[in-house]
Homo-oligomer: 168 residues x 2
DNA sequence: GACATACTGTTGACACATCAATAGTTGCAG
DNA sequence: CTGCAACTATTGATGTGTCAACAGTATGTC
């Protein structure tokens, strides 16, 4: 293996910041939701995604992709949400492999109750600290990093995606 | 509670991207390190931080802050790393409460072995997708979000930091 | 139409993180 | 110098995520 291309000074600083963010932000948001609403960030994402569909329901696999989680993780999340009465599961009519998760009224009420505190947390931790211009830059950077994010980091021949990632 | 300030269109898009990133990036990096080196991202961060000090050693509390983890999490991480022979723990001479983690030669060799693959992964997932200008913007945004990141999201009276977060 | 292949969702076993409680230590206030 | 508050690190209990294996279903090919 040849000598890798190391990170230069600016890349290094950007990376240290991004890495720290990936540790701190989820922890802080999880903490707020857990404390105030007894939900994890992932739970909230799933409920929020469901609440924004027209008919409050979605196939598990689509939901997993939208919430950027593995199918296995989503399955456990939905199980918990189902136990709490926020979501119900039914089999899909057109494809008997598929399962459709449906947001109950109770679940809808829960999202609406949780949303203000969560949004306020996001605001105080992120957007209150950025200029409008930076918000635009961040959106653009996010788009760049997420488009085709599932290209393997190195071309490993005949090595498909390790089942379960959010990569279709 | 008054009606919260919701996110506008651009904030919303930026947030959805950032949230997706916070799910996907750590998972992908963890996956690479786990597969190739049997290390978690947090393990690697701790080893890397230690390797960059002058004397390869640091107090647990300082290490926790630098790696952006809770003390409790760090304690378990260092336990695992110690079991594998990458790190050793000794009591601090000047403060008998404190513990100093020390990177062993074996641990140093491990970081040096793991670094190229990890850096390559970071490169392919992040920096290869950004322009130089965007890298600068990202560094700036990271700085803005991390400075004083421990200010509570809302002023809760007499409600100290819930022990264990990376907030001094 | 029968077989091979790919897809969907779930689960058992395991690894890991978090929370709260703890023991030991320091340092300051009176 | 004594007692109280704050700090440091660890740990038991619990909840959650990950990986690999699995059963059931769809799709395409001959």
């Amino acid at each position: 293996m040849s000598e890798p291309r190391w990170l230069d000074g600016q890349e290094r600083e950007a990376w240290l910041s991004l890495a720290a963010l990936m540790f701190v932000l989820p922890a802080a948001l999880d903490s707020q939701l857990q404390r105030d609403e007894d939900l994890s960030m992932a739970d909230y994402m799933v409920l929020a995604m469901l609440s924004e569909t027209g008919d409050r329901q979605m196939r598990m696999s689509d939901l997993a992709a939208l919430a950027s989680t593995s199918q296995s993780r989503l399955s456990r999340i939905v199980s918990r949400l189902e136990q709490k009465g926020f979501v119900s599961r039914t089999m899909a009519a057109e494809d008997r492999r598929a399962v459709v998760a449906h947001l109950t009224d109770h679940g809808m009420a829960k999202v609406e109750q949780a949303a203000p505190g969560h949004v306020e947390a996001v605001r105080s931790m992120v957007f209150d600290r950025l200029t409008d211009e930076q918000v635009g830059q961040l959106a653009e950077i996010g788009r760049a990093l997420l488009t085709d994010a599932c290209t393997p980091h190195r071309a490993l021949p005949a090595d498909g995606h390790p089942q379960g990632t959010a990569c279709p």
